[in-house]
Symmetry: C2
Subunit: 322 residues, 2 copies
Amino acid sequence: MTHSYAIGIDIGGTNTDMGLVREDGTIIARSNIPTNAYTELVPYVHDIIGCISKLMKDNNVDKIDGIGIGAPNGNFYTGCVDNAPNLTIKGVLNFEEEMHKYMDVPVVLSNDANAAAYGEMVYGGAKGMNHFIMFTLGTGVGSGIVVDGKLVHGSTGGAGELGHNILIPEGRQCSCGRKGCLETYTSARGIVQTFCELRAANGPRDVKEGWIPDTVKDSDVTSKMIGDAANAGDPIAIATYEKTGYLLGIAIANSVTFSAPEAIFLMGGPTKVGEPLLKPLRESFEKHLLNIYEGSCNIRMSQLKANEVAILGAAALIKMKQ
Amino acid sequence: MTHSYAIGIDIGGTNTDMGLVREDGTIIARSNIPTNAYTELVPYVHDIIGCISKLMKDNNVDKIDGIGIGAPNGNFYTGCVDNAPNLTIKGVLNFEEEMHKYMDVPVVLSNDANAAAYGEMVYGGAKGMNHFIMFTLGTGVGSGIVVDGKLVHGSTGGAGELGHNILIPEGRQCSCGRKGCLETYTSARGIVQTFCELRAANGPRDVKEGWIPDTVKDSDVTSKMIGDAANAGDPIAIATYEKTGYLLGIAIANSVTFSAPEAIFLMGGPTKVGEPLLKPLRESFEKHLLNIYEGSCNIRMSQLKANEVAILGAAALIKMKQ
């Protein structure tokens, strides 16, 4: 049997992860280089191409369908990464053009959250769905929106930034310069801030095993710690997720009024806590969902593995040019 | 020269307006029947068909490309009107099937705001645009969203209800049963409520010519009166539009994070006031727009005439099946 293959590349500020992906969503082999060792596009792409060639040769693959790249500020329309603040290679980087100097295959870029959404559609829990939205919770909150079976890129390529929907007018300061964005409340950082605020309002307390002691400074609290504490019964950690779930539920219900999706998918570290987040989230979602959508949309967890989603999502992007 | 024609039908709770529309967006002739004189679909459609036949005969048109219908709860996918609360004909009404008993042409339904958006694209200011959003301000707030040159209907047909985006969590009571929806602040009713709240907080006052005197009861205030008063310098009316524009600007900036549209179009009675609304709206929009969209999207007024948009929008819908 003959298989078809694609390359998925996940460009992060620190590392660039590459994978050779079979059409059934199996990552056959991986490779990586340190992104932050480069300050110029030409040697960076040269070395990426070296890795791709080696991945193909080592696995007796002589042909690939294309190269998909998930990158911060990756632009689907231009094939460029546009001034990504967290990359050491500065400026507008034309990956498509640079890669075409070596390989005559489709090169498709999009941002990480869009790639994750597309990966879910091609390889994960959104197979066969024409309308869904992916929310990625991490340091920030990203999103990828699929309408009529296609990723929404919008007029600029920058569509799907629901983490920067203003949920609370004049609310928390966001790193984008504005106030009250969804991600200031439901990103890992936002969850930590909520915990610290609730803890301060509560005053000193005695803690049981597994709770977060008062001796842990605000700056040392992580969302992982809050998740573990919530599952150990820490009432302040539980209250933190109740607020987080409540607010995320409103934001997700709001997103449904846009595209009436079949499902909302969630992924990312802060979702791993499970029921302490998911129970108030579902309750808030049901309470805040406009009645005409009742029963037509539900919240699901990504079906892709955390350590595979970035490469699979990137590889999936090339399906948009097939 | 041979022209092509379509029929546009605007179904309202009181009247059903029909128009014979030439492909250049000229309404050649109109007709109407009272919607609320009917309690059954069969005689209602029978009489609509009678009007259509007469419109065609009177104007020597022997062939139409299709019939487009803008209706509350009009469903693009099913060709039905689904339990519209403001119609005297109750239940799920299969217009497409019933009309096909008489005429073998495409019959396309959608809701009023979607039709308005599509009309703007086919005949108005959004010609040639692939990504835009229409907000219709009236008794409520509706929206129609165009992505990649197509109306977004979503998985159910009910996409594009941005008037029911929750803008202020736990805010004003909405007729949908939830709280804080955009339309509770920026519909005609919402604007009246804001005026009455600001007036009550202000206390008794002396008014100048054109202002709204205290003798006008809350229940008699209309958004048209507030608009006229604002243009006559009434400070409470002006403050009303400042709040309205501020909130609508946030909502519109939020909508941009979804689909990165080229433009946002506005239409409807409350927008007619002009600068008292538009100035604070633009300022709020610019302040609340995520920086990556700066310069790529602006706010525009619908280019269709208020008394033509419903029929033109409905007629435009058939382009989706051509």
